[in-house]
Protein backbone atom coordinates (compact mmCIF):
# COMPACT_ATOMS: atom_id res chain seq x y z
CA UNK A 1 0.00 0.00 0.00
CA UNK A 2 1.43 3.34 -1.02
CA UNK A 3 1.40 5.97 1.68
CA UNK A 4 1.34 9.75 1.42
CA UNK A 5 5.04 9.73 2.26
CA UNK A 6 5.91 7.73 -0.87
CA UNK A 7 4.19 10.26 -3.10
CA UNK A 8 5.84 13.17 -1.34
CA UNK A 9 9.30 11.62 -1.71
CA UNK A 10 8.76 11.10 -5.45
CA UNK A 11 7.46 14.64 -5.88
CA UNK A 12 10.36 16.00 -3.83
CA UNK A 13 12.77 14.11 -6.09
CA UNK A 14 11.05 15.49 -9.20
CA UNK A 15 11.34 19.01 -7.80
CA UNK A 16 15.00 18.52 -6.97
CA UNK A 17 15.76 17.08 -10.43
CA UNK A 18 13.97 20.03 -12.03
CA UNK A 19 15.78 22.59 -9.90
CA UNK A 20 19.09 20.83 -10.54
CA UNK A 21 18.42 20.97 -14.27
CA UNK A 22 17.71 24.70 -14.11
CA UNK A 23 20.84 25.46 -12.12
CA UNK A 24 23.32 23.08 -13.77
CA UNK A 25 22.39 22.65 -17.43
CA UNK A 26 23.49 25.15 -20.05
CA UNK A 27 20.97 24.57 -22.84
CA UNK A 28 17.88 26.76 -22.51
CA UNK A 29 15.55 24.03 -23.76
CA UNK A 30 16.79 21.62 -21.08
CA UNK A 31 16.46 24.38 -18.48
CA UNK A 32 12.89 24.85 -19.64
CA UNK A 33 12.21 21.12 -19.25
CA UNK A 34 13.54 21.36 -15.70
CA UNK A 35 11.09 24.18 -15.00
CA UNK A 36 8.19 22.06 -16.23
CA UNK A 37 9.32 19.18 -14.00
CA UNK A 38 9.15 21.52 -11.00
CA UNK A 39 5.54 22.38 -11.81
CA UNK A 40 4.65 18.71 -12.25
CA UNK A 41 6.25 17.88 -8.91
CA UNK A 42 3.80 20.31 -7.35
CA UNK A 43 0.92 18.68 -9.25
CA UNK A 44 1.82 15.23 -7.98
CA UNK A 45 2.03 16.26 -4.36
CA UNK A 46 -1.22 18.26 -4.64
CA UNK A 47 -3.09 15.21 -5.91
CA UNK A 48 -1.53 13.05 -3.19
CA UNK A 49 -2.48 15.54 -0.48
CA UNK A 50 -6.03 15.74 -1.87
CA UNK A 51 -6.41 11.95 -1.91
CA UNK A 52 -5.06 11.40 1.60
CA UNK A 53 -6.75 14.35 3.22
CA UNK A 54 -10.12 12.80 2.33
CA UNK A 55 -13.25 14.52 3.59
CA UNK A 56 -15.76 12.98 5.98
CA UNK A 57 -17.70 11.23 3.22
CA UNK A 58 -14.56 9.59 1.83
CA UNK A 59 -14.26 11.80 -1.26
CA UNK A 60 -10.97 13.56 -2.01
CA UNK A 61 -10.78 17.32 -1.54
CA UNK A 62 -11.60 18.69 -4.97
CA UNK A 63 -10.19 22.18 -4.32
CA UNK A 64 -6.64 20.89 -4.74
CA UNK A 65 -7.52 18.89 -7.82
CA UNK A 66 -9.00 21.98 -9.45
CA UNK A 67 -5.77 23.82 -8.65
CA UNK A 68 -3.90 21.04 -10.48
CA UNK A 69 -5.94 21.72 -13.61
CA UNK A 70 -5.14 25.41 -13.34
CA UNK A 71 -1.44 24.63 -13.02
CA UNK A 72 -1.52 22.37 -16.09
CA UNK A 73 -3.28 25.08 -18.12
CA UNK A 74 -0.93 27.83 -17.01
CA UNK A 75 2.11 25.62 -17.67
CA UNK A 76 0.84 25.06 -21.21
CA UNK A 77 0.48 28.80 -21.77
CA UNK A 78 3.94 29.36 -20.35
CA UNK A 79 5.44 26.74 -22.68
CA UNK A 80 3.75 28.30 -25.70
CA UNK A 81 5.12 31.75 -24.96
CA UNK A 82 8.45 30.47 -23.71
CA UNK A 83 9.23 28.34 -26.74
CA UNK A 84 8.27 31.24 -29.01
CA UNK A 85 10.79 33.45 -27.24
CA UNK A 86 13.47 30.76 -27.45
CA UNK A 87 12.77 30.40 -31.18
CA UNK A 88 13.11 34.17 -31.59
CA UNK A 89 16.45 33.99 -29.79
CA UNK A 90 17.62 31.11 -31.98
CA UNK A 91 16.68 32.93 -35.18
CA UNK A 92 18.63 35.95 -34.04
CA UNK A 93 21.80 34.23 -32.87
CA UNK A 94 21.72 30.56 -33.97
CA UNK A 95 22.28 29.47 -30.39
CA UNK A 96 20.30 28.24 -27.40
CA UNK A 97 23.06 28.25 -24.79
CA UNK A 98 23.12 30.46 -21.74
CA UNK A 99 26.82 31.31 -22.18
CA UNK A 100 25.88 33.19 -25.35
CA UNK A 101 23.47 35.44 -23.47
CA UNK A 102 26.21 37.93 -22.68
CA UNK A 103 25.14 41.24 -24.18
CA UNK A 104 23.75 42.50 -20.89
CA UNK A 105 26.45 42.62 -18.26
CA UNK A 106 27.06 44.16 -14.88
Amino acid sequence: MLTLGNYLIVSGLLFAIGLGGVLLRRNILVIFMGLELMLNAANLSLVAFARHGATAVGLPDYNAQVLVFFIITVAAAEVAVGLAIIVALYRQRQTAHVEDLNQLKF
Binding site: L8, S11, F15, G18, L19, V22, I28, I31, F32, L35, M38, L39, A41, A42, S45, L46, F49, G53, D61, N63, A64, V66, L67, F70, I71, V74, A77, E78, V81, G82, I85, I86, A88, L89, Q92, R93, L101, Q103, L104, F106
Partner: protein, 483 residues
Amino acid sequence: MNPLYLEVAVVILGLLLLVAESFAGPGRKSGIAHPAITGLILIFIATFWVNPAALDASAPYARFYSTDSLAIFFKQIALLTTIVVLIMAQEFAPVVEANLPSSRRGAGLGEFYALPVFTCAGLMWMASAVDFVLIFVSLELVTISFYILVSYLRHDRLSVEAGVKFLVLGALSTGFLVYGITWIYGVTGQTNLNAIAAVIPALKVAAAPALLFGLGLVLVSLGFKVAAVPFQFWIPDVYQGAPTPITAFLSVASKAAGFVVLLRVLQTFVVVPYLQEKILPLMALLAGVTMVFGNLAAIPQSNLKRLLAYSSVAHAGYLLLGVASLGAPFVGSAILFYLGAYLLMTLLAFLVMTIVAKAVGGDDIADFNGLNQRAPQLAFAMLLAMASLAGVPLTVGFLGKLFIFEAAYQQGHFVLITIGIVTVAAGFYYYLKIVRAMYWQQAADPDAPGIPVGIAARITIAILCALIIWLGIYPAPLLSLIH
Protein backbone atom coordinates in the same frame (compact mmCIF):
# COMPACT_ATOMS: atom_id res chain seq x y z
CA MET B 1 -21.39 49.41 -8.58
CA ASN B 2 -20.21 45.85 -8.12
CA PRO B 3 -16.39 45.80 -8.05
CA LEU B 4 -16.27 42.61 -10.11
CA TYR B 5 -17.31 44.64 -13.17
CA LEU B 6 -14.00 46.52 -13.16
CA GLU B 7 -11.89 43.55 -14.24
CA VAL B 8 -14.60 42.37 -16.61
CA ALA B 9 -14.61 45.81 -18.24
CA VAL B 10 -10.81 45.79 -18.59
CA VAL B 11 -10.79 42.33 -20.20
CA ILE B 12 -13.61 43.26 -22.61
CA LEU B 13 -11.71 46.43 -23.51
CA GLY B 14 -8.64 44.32 -24.27
CA LEU B 15 -10.60 41.92 -26.46
CA LEU B 16 -12.25 44.79 -28.35
CA LEU B 17 -8.81 46.30 -28.94
CA LEU B 18 -7.60 43.02 -30.44
CA VAL B 19 -10.61 42.93 -32.75
CA ALA B 20 -10.10 46.57 -33.73
CA GLU B 21 -6.45 45.84 -34.35
CA SER B 22 -7.19 43.03 -36.76
CA PHE B 23 -9.59 45.21 -38.76
CA ALA B 24 -7.42 48.35 -38.77
CA GLY B 25 -5.75 48.99 -42.09
CA PRO B 26 -1.98 48.99 -42.55
CA GLY B 27 -0.35 52.04 -41.02
CA ARG B 28 -3.30 52.68 -38.73
CA LYS B 29 -2.49 50.17 -35.98
CA SER B 30 -1.11 52.87 -33.69
CA GLY B 31 -4.61 54.39 -33.62
CA ILE B 32 -5.82 51.77 -31.13
CA ALA B 33 -3.78 53.46 -28.40
CA HIS B 34 -6.46 56.16 -28.12
CA PRO B 35 -9.44 53.89 -27.33
CA ALA B 36 -7.20 51.91 -24.96
CA ILE B 37 -6.20 55.01 -22.99
CA THR B 38 -9.72 56.47 -23.03
CA GLY B 39 -11.28 53.20 -21.91
CA LEU B 40 -8.84 52.77 -19.04
CA ILE B 41 -9.38 56.36 -17.90
CA LEU B 42 -13.15 55.73 -17.80
CA ILE B 43 -12.63 52.54 -15.76
CA PHE B 44 -10.23 54.42 -13.46
CA ILE B 45 -12.90 57.05 -12.82
CA ALA B 46 -15.42 54.27 -12.19
CA THR B 47 -13.28 52.84 -9.38
CA PHE B 48 -14.27 55.83 -7.23
CA TRP B 49 -17.91 54.74 -7.38
CA VAL B 50 -17.28 51.14 -6.49
CA ASN B 51 -19.48 49.84 -3.71
CA PRO B 52 -17.85 46.85 -1.95
CA ALA B 53 -21.17 46.09 -0.29
CA ALA B 54 -22.63 45.21 -3.70
CA LEU B 55 -20.60 42.03 -3.58
CA ASP B 56 -22.68 39.13 -2.24
CA ALA B 57 -20.57 37.74 0.62
CA SER B 58 -22.24 34.33 0.37
CA ALA B 59 -21.61 33.96 -3.37
CA PRO B 60 -19.03 31.32 -4.37
CA TYR B 61 -16.57 33.86 -5.78
CA ALA B 62 -16.45 35.74 -2.48
CA ARG B 63 -14.13 32.96 -1.26
CA PHE B 64 -11.56 34.09 -3.82
CA TYR B 65 -12.18 37.78 -4.14
CA SER B 66 -11.85 40.52 -1.58
CA THR B 67 -12.95 44.12 -1.97
CA ASP B 68 -11.32 45.82 1.00
CA SER B 69 -9.79 49.29 0.65
CA LEU B 70 -6.37 47.69 0.01
CA ALA B 71 -7.76 45.95 -3.07
CA ILE B 72 -9.46 49.07 -4.44
CA PHE B 73 -6.35 51.21 -3.90
CA PHE B 74 -4.16 48.70 -5.75
CA LYS B 75 -6.66 48.49 -8.59
CA GLN B 76 -6.34 52.27 -8.93
CA ILE B 77 -2.54 51.98 -8.93
CA ALA B 78 -2.70 49.30 -11.64
CA LEU B 79 -5.05 51.34 -13.84
CA LEU B 80 -3.13 54.59 -13.45
CA THR B 81 0.16 52.87 -14.24
CA THR B 82 -1.26 51.21 -17.33
CA ILE B 83 -2.62 54.53 -18.60
CA VAL B 84 0.76 56.24 -18.24
CA VAL B 85 2.53 53.21 -19.75
CA LEU B 86 0.27 53.39 -22.82
CA ILE B 87 1.02 57.10 -23.20
CA MET B 88 4.71 56.24 -22.96
CA ALA B 89 4.20 53.46 -25.53
CA GLN B 90 2.79 56.02 -27.95
CA GLU B 91 5.97 58.06 -27.65
CA PHE B 92 7.97 54.85 -27.99
CA ALA B 93 6.13 53.59 -31.11
CA PRO B 94 8.85 54.57 -33.67
CA VAL B 95 11.42 52.45 -31.81
CA VAL B 96 9.03 49.47 -31.76
CA GLU B 97 8.33 49.82 -35.47
CA ALA B 98 12.03 49.91 -36.29
CA ASN B 99 12.70 46.71 -34.38
CA LEU B 100 9.94 44.45 -35.66
CA PRO B 101 10.61 41.89 -38.40
CA SER B 102 7.72 42.99 -40.61
CA SER B 103 8.49 45.25 -43.55
CA ARG B 104 4.99 46.78 -43.54
CA ARG B 105 4.76 50.03 -41.62
CA GLY B 106 3.04 49.74 -38.24
CA ALA B 107 2.39 46.01 -38.46
CA GLY B 108 2.71 44.38 -35.04
CA LEU B 109 2.26 47.65 -33.22
CA GLY B 110 -1.32 46.92 -32.13
CA GLU B 111 -0.47 44.17 -29.66
CA PHE B 112 2.00 46.49 -27.96
CA TYR B 113 -1.02 48.52 -26.83
CA ALA B 114 -3.42 45.60 -26.24
CA LEU B 115 -1.20 43.39 -24.08
CA PRO B 116 -0.70 45.96 -21.26
CA VAL B 117 -4.50 46.06 -20.91
CA PHE B 118 -4.60 42.32 -20.18
CA THR B 119 -1.65 42.70 -17.81
CA CYS B 120 -3.66 45.38 -16.04
CA ALA B 121 -6.59 42.97 -15.60
CA GLY B 122 -4.20 40.44 -14.05
CA LEU B 123 -2.83 43.07 -11.68
CA MET B 124 -6.34 44.05 -10.63
CA TRP B 125 -7.31 40.46 -9.88
CA MET B 126 -4.10 40.05 -7.94
CA ALA B 127 -5.06 43.03 -5.79
CA SER B 128 -8.27 41.27 -4.78
CA ALA B 129 -6.95 37.72 -4.51
CA VAL B 130 -7.42 36.10 -1.11
CA ASP B 131 -7.08 32.50 -2.28
CA PHE B 132 -3.88 30.86 -3.43
CA VAL B 133 -5.64 29.62 -6.60
CA LEU B 134 -6.54 33.15 -7.70
CA ILE B 135 -3.17 34.49 -6.54
CA PHE B 136 -1.43 31.91 -8.72
CA VAL B 137 -3.60 32.37 -11.81
CA SER B 138 -3.57 36.18 -11.76
CA LEU B 139 0.16 36.26 -11.06
CA GLU B 140 0.72 34.06 -14.11
CA LEU B 141 -1.55 36.20 -16.27
CA VAL B 142 0.68 39.15 -15.39
CA THR B 143 3.96 37.26 -15.73
CA ILE B 144 3.21 35.60 -19.06
CA SER B 145 2.06 38.87 -20.63
CA PHE B 146 5.28 40.42 -19.36
CA TYR B 147 7.34 37.66 -21.04
CA ILE B 148 5.90 38.76 -24.39
CA LEU B 149 6.21 42.47 -23.69
CA VAL B 150 9.82 42.30 -22.49
CA SER B 151 10.99 40.44 -25.61
CA TYR B 152 8.75 42.47 -27.91
CA LEU B 153 11.52 44.12 -29.97
CA ARG B 154 12.42 40.99 -31.92
CA HIS B 155 15.23 42.61 -33.94
CA ASP B 156 16.85 44.08 -30.87
CA ARG B 157 19.43 41.74 -29.36
CA LEU B 158 19.09 43.17 -25.86
CA SER B 159 15.31 42.85 -25.78
CA VAL B 160 15.25 39.17 -26.77
CA GLU B 161 18.07 38.35 -24.38
CA ALA B 162 16.26 40.13 -21.56
CA GLY B 163 13.11 38.19 -22.50
CA VAL B 164 14.86 34.83 -22.21
CA LYS B 165 16.42 35.73 -18.87
CA PHE B 166 13.08 36.96 -17.56
CA LEU B 167 11.39 33.79 -18.85
CA VAL B 168 13.76 31.41 -17.06
CA LEU B 169 13.79 33.30 -13.76
CA GLY B 170 10.07 34.07 -13.84
CA ALA B 171 9.23 30.42 -14.47
CA LEU B 172 11.63 29.41 -11.69
CA SER B 173 9.84 31.68 -9.24
CA THR B 174 6.51 30.20 -10.41
CA GLY B 175 7.86 26.74 -9.64
CA PHE B 176 8.78 27.82 -6.10
CA LEU B 177 5.39 29.48 -5.61
CA VAL B 178 3.40 26.43 -6.71
CA TYR B 179 5.45 23.98 -4.66
CA GLY B 180 5.16 26.26 -1.64
CA ILE B 181 1.38 26.49 -2.07
CA THR B 182 1.29 22.69 -2.25
CA TRP B 183 2.93 22.31 1.15
CA ILE B 184 0.82 24.98 2.77
CA TYR B 185 -2.23 23.20 1.39
CA GLY B 186 -0.89 19.83 2.55
CA VAL B 187 -0.52 21.06 6.13
CA THR B 188 -3.68 23.12 6.44
CA GLY B 189 -6.00 21.45 3.93
CA GLN B 190 -7.04 24.91 2.67
CA THR B 191 -6.09 27.25 -0.14
CA ASN B 192 -8.10 30.22 1.10
CA LEU B 193 -6.06 32.69 3.15
CA ASN B 194 -8.83 33.36 5.69
CA ALA B 195 -9.47 29.64 6.14
CA ILE B 196 -5.73 29.05 6.56
CA ALA B 197 -5.58 31.75 9.22
CA ALA B 198 -8.42 30.01 11.04
CA VAL B 199 -6.75 26.58 10.88
CA ILE B 200 -3.16 27.51 11.82
CA PRO B 201 -3.56 28.16 15.57
CA ALA B 202 -4.99 24.64 16.04
CA LEU B 203 -2.14 22.89 14.20
CA LYS B 204 0.13 20.42 15.96
CA VAL B 205 3.67 21.60 16.64
CA ALA B 206 5.01 18.73 14.52
CA ALA B 207 3.40 20.32 11.44
CA ALA B 208 5.32 23.60 11.85
CA PRO B 209 8.45 22.66 9.80
CA ALA B 210 6.34 21.61 6.78
CA LEU B 211 4.31 24.82 7.04
CA LEU B 212 7.46 26.95 7.30
CA PHE B 213 8.97 25.11 4.32
CA GLY B 214 5.93 25.94 2.20
CA LEU B 215 5.79 29.53 3.41
CA GLY B 216 9.53 29.91 2.77
CA LEU B 217 9.13 28.82 -0.85
CA VAL B 218 6.23 31.25 -1.34
CA LEU B 219 8.32 34.07 0.15
CA VAL B 220 11.25 33.24 -2.18
CA SER B 221 8.88 33.52 -5.12
CA LEU B 222 7.48 36.84 -3.91
CA GLY B 223 11.05 38.00 -3.29
CA PHE B 224 11.66 37.54 -7.02
CA LYS B 225 8.59 39.62 -7.84
CA VAL B 226 9.37 42.55 -5.55
CA ALA B 227 13.13 42.45 -6.33
CA ALA B 228 14.42 41.78 -2.83
CA VAL B 229 18.10 40.86 -2.41
CA PRO B 230 19.22 37.98 -2.91
CA PHE B 231 16.57 37.43 -5.61
CA GLN B 232 17.29 40.67 -7.49
CA PHE B 233 19.91 39.41 -9.96
CA TRP B 234 17.48 39.38 -12.91
CA ILE B 235 16.44 42.99 -12.36
CA PRO B 236 19.27 45.00 -14.01
CA ASP B 237 19.48 42.87 -17.16
CA VAL B 238 15.74 42.69 -17.73
CA TYR B 239 15.20 46.38 -16.97
CA GLN B 240 17.94 47.44 -19.37
CA GLY B 241 16.90 45.14 -22.21
CA ALA B 242 13.12 45.60 -22.09
CA PRO B 243 11.40 48.38 -24.09
CA THR B 244 11.42 51.48 -21.84
CA PRO B 245 7.63 51.70 -21.26
CA ILE B 246 7.62 48.05 -20.25
CA THR B 247 10.51 48.66 -17.85
CA ALA B 248 8.40 51.32 -16.18
CA PHE B 249 5.44 48.95 -16.07
CA LEU B 250 7.56 46.19 -14.52
CA SER B 251 9.14 48.43 -11.93
CA VAL B 252 5.89 49.99 -10.73
CA ALA B 253 2.96 47.65 -11.29
CA SER B 254 4.74 44.33 -10.91
CA LYS B 255 6.37 45.48 -7.68
CA ALA B 256 3.15 46.92 -6.27
CA ALA B 257 1.26 43.70 -7.02
CA GLY B 258 4.05 41.65 -5.46
CA PHE B 259 3.77 43.73 -2.30
CA VAL B 260 0.00 43.42 -2.05
CA VAL B 261 0.27 39.62 -2.24
CA LEU B 262 3.17 39.67 0.24
CA LEU B 263 1.08 41.75 2.66
CA ARG B 264 -1.92 39.45 2.36
CA VAL B 265 0.12 36.26 2.80
CA LEU B 266 2.06 37.63 5.76
CA GLN B 267 -1.06 38.97 7.47
CA THR B 268 -2.40 35.42 7.32
CA PHE B 269 0.64 33.90 9.00
CA VAL B 270 1.87 36.51 11.49
CA VAL B 271 -1.23 36.00 13.66
CA VAL B 272 0.53 33.02 15.23
CA PRO B 273 3.34 34.03 17.63
CA TYR B 274 5.75 31.21 16.78
CA LEU B 275 5.48 32.02 13.06
CA GLN B 276 5.68 35.75 13.69
CA GLU B 277 8.95 35.48 15.58
CA LYS B 278 10.46 33.63 12.61
CA ILE B 279 9.02 35.70 9.73
CA LEU B 280 9.46 39.29 10.87
CA PRO B 281 13.20 39.07 11.70
CA LEU B 282 13.70 37.44 8.29
CA MET B 283 11.88 40.37 6.64
CA ALA B 284 14.02 42.82 8.64
CA LEU B 285 17.18 41.06 7.46
CA LEU B 286 15.99 41.13 3.83
CA ALA B 287 15.12 44.83 4.17
CA GLY B 288 18.58 45.72 5.50
CA VAL B 289 20.45 43.75 2.83
CA THR B 290 18.22 45.06 0.04
CA MET B 291 18.62 48.71 1.07
CA VAL B 292 22.41 48.43 1.25
CA PHE B 293 22.87 46.41 -1.94
CA GLY B 294 20.45 48.42 -4.09
CA ASN B 295 21.98 51.76 -3.20
CA LEU B 296 25.62 50.68 -3.39
CA ALA B 297 25.20 48.85 -6.70
CA ALA B 298 23.50 51.89 -8.25
CA ILE B 299 26.45 54.21 -7.61
CA PRO B 300 28.83 53.09 -10.41
CA GLN B 301 26.15 52.68 -13.12
CA SER B 302 26.49 54.71 -16.31
CA ASN B 303 23.28 53.54 -18.03
CA LEU B 304 20.17 55.31 -16.76
CA LYS B 305 17.91 52.26 -17.11
CA ARG B 306 20.33 50.12 -15.10
CA LEU B 307 20.63 52.88 -12.52
CA LEU B 308 16.86 53.02 -12.15
CA ALA B 309 16.81 49.21 -11.92
CA TYR B 310 19.11 49.28 -8.90
CA SER B 311 17.18 52.22 -7.51
CA SER B 312 14.04 50.06 -7.76
CA VAL B 313 15.84 47.37 -5.73
CA ALA B 314 16.70 50.03 -3.15
CA HIS B 315 13.07 51.16 -2.96
CA ALA B 316 12.00 47.54 -2.47
CA GLY B 317 14.30 47.62 0.57
CA TYR B 318 12.50 50.60 2.11
CA LEU B 319 9.15 48.93 1.42
CA LEU B 320 10.37 45.71 3.05
CA LEU B 321 11.37 47.77 6.08
CA GLY B 322 7.69 48.68 6.27
CA VAL B 323 6.71 45.02 5.92
CA ALA B 324 9.14 44.08 8.69
CA SER B 325 7.39 46.63 10.91
CA LEU B 326 4.00 44.91 10.57
CA GLY B 327 2.17 45.50 13.81
CA ALA B 328 2.85 49.23 14.06
CA PRO B 329 -0.48 51.10 14.08
CA PHE B 330 -0.38 52.73 10.64
CA VAL B 331 2.26 50.66 8.86
CA GLY B 332 -0.24 49.56 6.20
CA SER B 333 -0.94 53.18 5.26
CA ALA B 334 2.79 53.93 5.26
CA ILE B 335 3.51 51.12 2.77
CA LEU B 336 0.61 52.14 0.53
CA PHE B 337 1.67 55.80 0.64
CA TYR B 338 5.21 54.81 -0.32
CA LEU B 339 3.92 52.75 -3.24
CA GLY B 340 1.75 55.63 -4.41
CA ALA B 341 4.70 58.02 -4.21
CA TYR B 342 6.99 55.53 -5.93
CA LEU B 343 4.47 55.22 -8.75
CA LEU B 344 4.38 58.98 -9.41
CA MET B 345 8.13 59.60 -9.41
CA THR B 346 9.18 56.43 -11.25
CA LEU B 347 6.63 56.91 -14.02
CA LEU B 348 7.72 60.53 -14.41
CA ALA B 349 11.38 59.52 -14.70
CA PHE B 350 10.66 56.82 -17.28
CA LEU B 351 8.33 59.06 -19.28
CA VAL B 352 10.95 61.79 -19.61
CA MET B 353 13.56 59.15 -20.37
CA THR B 354 11.46 57.61 -23.16
CA ILE B 355 11.09 60.99 -24.85
CA VAL B 356 14.73 62.02 -24.47
CA ALA B 357 16.11 58.61 -25.46
CA LYS B 358 14.01 58.68 -28.63
CA ALA B 359 15.38 62.09 -29.60
CA VAL B 360 19.00 61.48 -28.58
CA GLY B 361 19.23 57.81 -29.51
CA GLY B 362 20.56 56.34 -26.28
CA ASP B 363 19.75 55.94 -22.60
CA ASP B 364 23.15 56.39 -20.99
CA ILE B 365 23.54 59.16 -18.44
CA ALA B 366 25.95 60.88 -20.84
CA ASP B 367 23.08 61.19 -23.34
CA PHE B 368 21.41 63.58 -20.89
CA ASN B 369 24.34 66.03 -20.98
CA GLY B 370 23.15 69.58 -21.45
CA LEU B 371 19.48 68.65 -21.57
CA ASN B 372 18.67 71.91 -19.80
CA GLN B 373 19.75 73.97 -22.82
CA ARG B 374 17.90 71.77 -25.27
CA ALA B 375 14.63 71.12 -23.42
CA PRO B 376 14.41 72.99 -20.09
CA GLN B 377 10.93 71.70 -19.26
CA LEU B 378 11.92 68.05 -19.67
CA ALA B 379 15.07 68.68 -17.65
CA PHE B 380 13.01 70.25 -14.86
CA ALA B 381 10.60 67.28 -14.81
CA MET B 382 13.54 64.89 -14.57
CA LEU B 383 15.05 67.01 -11.81
CA LEU B 384 11.82 66.74 -9.87
CA ALA B 385 11.62 62.97 -10.36
CA MET B 386 15.20 62.50 -9.21
CA ALA B 387 14.75 64.79 -6.20
CA SER B 388 11.67 62.85 -5.16
CA LEU B 389 13.34 59.45 -5.69
CA ALA B 390 16.26 60.63 -3.58
CA GLY B 391 13.91 61.91 -0.90
CA VAL B 392 14.40 65.68 -0.92
CA PRO B 393 11.98 67.41 1.52
CA LEU B 394 8.83 68.98 0.04
CA THR B 395 8.51 66.11 -2.45
CA VAL B 396 6.26 63.10 -2.06
CA GLY B 397 9.25 60.74 -1.91
CA PHE B 398 10.46 62.38 1.30
CA LEU B 399 7.14 61.87 3.08
CA GLY B 400 7.00 58.24 1.91
CA LYS B 401 10.35 57.48 3.52
CA LEU B 402 9.43 59.47 6.62
CA PHE B 403 6.24 57.45 7.24
CA ILE B 404 8.09 54.14 6.76
CA PHE B 405 10.87 55.16 9.15
CA GLU B 406 8.30 56.29 11.70
CA ALA B 407 6.55 52.91 11.58
CA ALA B 408 9.93 51.18 11.93
CA TYR B 409 10.78 53.44 14.88
CA GLN B 410 7.63 52.35 16.69
CA GLN B 411 8.61 48.70 16.25
CA GLY B 412 12.12 49.43 17.55
CA HIS B 413 14.10 48.72 14.37
CA PHE B 414 16.78 51.30 15.25
CA VAL B 415 19.63 49.55 13.40
CA LEU B 416 17.54 49.35 10.23
CA ILE B 417 16.58 53.02 10.47
CA THR B 418 20.26 53.94 10.73
CA ILE B 419 21.04 51.79 7.68
CA GLY B 420 18.08 53.39 5.92
CA ILE B 421 19.26 56.95 6.58
CA VAL B 422 22.84 56.19 5.52
CA THR B 423 21.67 54.53 2.29
CA VAL B 424 19.34 57.44 1.53
CA ALA B 425 22.39 59.69 1.74
CA ALA B 426 24.21 57.38 -0.68
CA GLY B 427 21.16 57.60 -2.93
CA PHE B 428 21.56 61.38 -3.21
CA TYR B 429 24.92 60.84 -4.89
CA TYR B 430 23.72 58.77 -7.83
CA TYR B 431 20.42 60.58 -8.38
CA LEU B 432 22.24 63.90 -8.46
CA LYS B 433 24.66 62.49 -11.04
CA ILE B 434 21.82 62.77 -13.55
CA VAL B 435 20.95 66.29 -12.40
CA ARG B 436 24.60 67.23 -12.84
CA ALA B 437 24.65 65.84 -16.37
CA MET B 438 21.52 67.78 -17.32
CA TYR B 439 22.48 71.15 -15.81
CA TRP B 440 26.27 71.38 -15.61
CA GLN B 441 27.59 69.30 -18.48
CA GLN B 442 27.96 70.56 -22.05
CA ALA B 443 25.78 68.93 -24.67
CA ALA B 444 27.61 66.93 -27.34
CA ASP B 445 25.89 69.01 -30.00
CA PRO B 446 25.06 72.51 -28.63
CA ASP B 447 22.98 73.47 -31.68
CA ALA B 448 20.61 70.48 -31.52
CA PRO B 449 16.96 71.44 -31.97
CA GLY B 450 14.38 71.17 -29.17
CA ILE B 451 12.75 67.85 -28.39
CA PRO B 452 9.16 67.43 -29.61
CA VAL B 453 6.70 66.10 -27.01
CA GLY B 454 3.26 64.69 -27.81
CA ILE B 455 0.24 66.42 -26.30
CA ALA B 456 -0.80 63.45 -24.11
CA ALA B 457 2.72 63.04 -22.78
CA ARG B 458 2.93 66.80 -22.10
CA ILE B 459 -0.25 66.75 -20.03
CA THR B 460 0.86 63.60 -18.16
CA ILE B 461 4.24 65.11 -17.29
CA ALA B 462 2.55 68.26 -15.98
CA ILE B 463 0.09 66.25 -13.86
CA LEU B 464 2.80 64.00 -12.41
CA CYS B 465 5.04 67.00 -11.57
CA ALA B 466 2.15 68.80 -9.90
CA LEU B 467 1.18 65.73 -7.87
CA ILE B 468 4.74 65.13 -6.67
CA ILE B 469 5.00 68.65 -5.25
CA TRP B 470 1.38 68.96 -4.08
CA LEU B 471 1.29 65.62 -2.24
CA GLY B 472 4.78 66.33 -0.87
CA ILE B 473 3.46 69.46 0.85
CA TYR B 474 -0.09 68.35 1.57
CA PRO B 475 -0.39 64.53 1.66
CA ALA B 476 -3.95 64.42 3.04
CA PRO B 477 -5.71 63.53 -0.27
CA LEU B 478 -3.57 60.42 -0.85
CA LEU B 479 -3.88 59.40 2.80
CA SER B 480 -7.66 59.70 2.70
CA LEU B 481 -7.68 57.48 -0.40
CA ILE B 482 -5.77 54.80 1.51
CA HIS B 483 -7.99 54.68 4.58
